[in-house]
Symmetry: C2
Subunit: 222 residues, 2 copies
DNA sequence: TCCAAAATGTCTTTTAGGAGACAAAAAAGC
DNA sequence: GCTTTTTTGTCTCCTAAAAGACATTTTGGA
């Protein structure tokens, strides 16, 4: 089992992977393009080969609430495929993204044929549920500064790339994007990021955040 | 399929239910007793026959954050059973609660033997994930009044009992309990509930909340 | 290369609601 | 029934951070 439970294909046996790929259709979405929308029928589930995708909902006044970001090796559009209801969220490519799309019906059939795969999906969903509960906890418990610090530290697992000075988070996010994830505003994110910068916790290189002092960043969480 | 995806046993075929019950050990927990704790190994998963259970985490300063409430017919301790890590939350009986406990290993074996069951667990987890994402959305989007109104309206599904004047929510929660669920404080909950009462949205009977005017309550959500 | 659009930086004002303090009421235990 | 503990009601004060306004910088597209 891969250490990251969300790394779906990595966790499969060759025969399982074949069954998955046989039913898959490769697609490419350009940056900012929508992959599915609120109200759509969940006809497909998707696997990310390359790129990243935000899963978000909209508020009445048009603001975005990001409920998850999906990274290479992860599935998305998954949970809703198990329900007979239209989607409640949008999926949009953050960067140019290559996916494998599998028809929901085909996917369910694979699960029936390969029970072991179904158990792996259980693990993926269970892991995501626990993470979602962690976000709920964070929202209730930490202030903007704490949530931002935790978000950055958490990103390491999926985007972290060690370089000389620290850990580069290999994803380009605007302050607005981050605000939509941690439940804050663009202005507050700008300000708090600059505080972190001034104190030497982070730096920005090529529009990407670099974690310079993780311990100090961890102390921002209270 | 039962309309409530979380009603686990109801959704099973007789043969599946037998397989489940054969491996189950009945237990009774009195009000306020802990069923499992943070740090425990997830050796068992539980099915609620009667009673209700809170799933919560603790903050550094001892406050409670409730991540879910489980009702009769639902499983709990489930998600963590699929991971090889200690539990991150507590489970406590809100009222006297009868459960069926199944060893995690046995449960996984049942899933292997009965693939259809595994798919049903997928549906339960998927549904919970979507609900958790809904809570994240609520926390970011609605104020205390809105969150409280949505919480009460949402409880109908699991606790609602129609009576002459309206819908009784068949669960006794203190204002503190509610605050831990909607991410607020005891004082704010007291005050907001009284506002709802004054405006005729709700009333209290036998320590239980009665929804008198659902439409008016819905208008509190903004 | 230039221009329009998007993103960032930095003010200032405003307010929801957290948090403390204490009295009153209700419930639980003996 | 009586006492202790829990829960509720209602103040007050105070701060984090939302939200608006606008200048500046950066970016991406033609």
């Amino acid at each position: 089992m891969a250490k990251n439970l969300d790394q779906f294909l990595l966790s499969l046996e060759p025969s399982e992977e074949d069954a998955f790929r046989e039913n898959a259709m490769p697609l490419v979405f350009k940056k900012n393009h929508n992959i599915f929308a609120n109200g759509d029928n969940p006809d497909y589930i998707y696997y990310i080969e390359k790129g990243r995708v935000t899963i978000y909902r909209l508020t009445k006044d048009g603001n975005t609430v990001t409920v998850a970001i999906r990274h290479p090796g992860e599935l998305f559009g998954l949970a809703e495929a198990f329900m007979e209801k239209p989607r409640k969220c949008f999926a949009q490519a953050i960067e140019t993204t290559s996916v494998l799309a599998v028809r929901t019906e085909d996917f369910k059939n694979i699960l029936r044929i390969i029970p072991e795969l179904s158990i792996k999906i259980n693990m993926v969903l269970a892991n995501r549920l626990r993470r979602a509960e962690g976000i709920i906890y964070d929202l209730i418990n930490y202030n903007v500064s704490g949530r931002l610090a935790r978000f950055l530290l958490g990103l390491q697992e999926q985007c972290g790339r060690i370089c000389g000075t620290g850990v580069v988070l290999d994803i380009k996010l605007t302050h607005n994007d981050i605000a939509a994830i941690i439940g804050s505003t663009r202005q507050s994110v700008t300000q708090t990021l600059n505080e972190f910068k001034d104190e030497g916790c982070i730096s920005i290189e090529d529009k990407k955040i670099v974690l310079l002092n993780k311990r100090k960043l961890q102390q921002k969480v209270y």
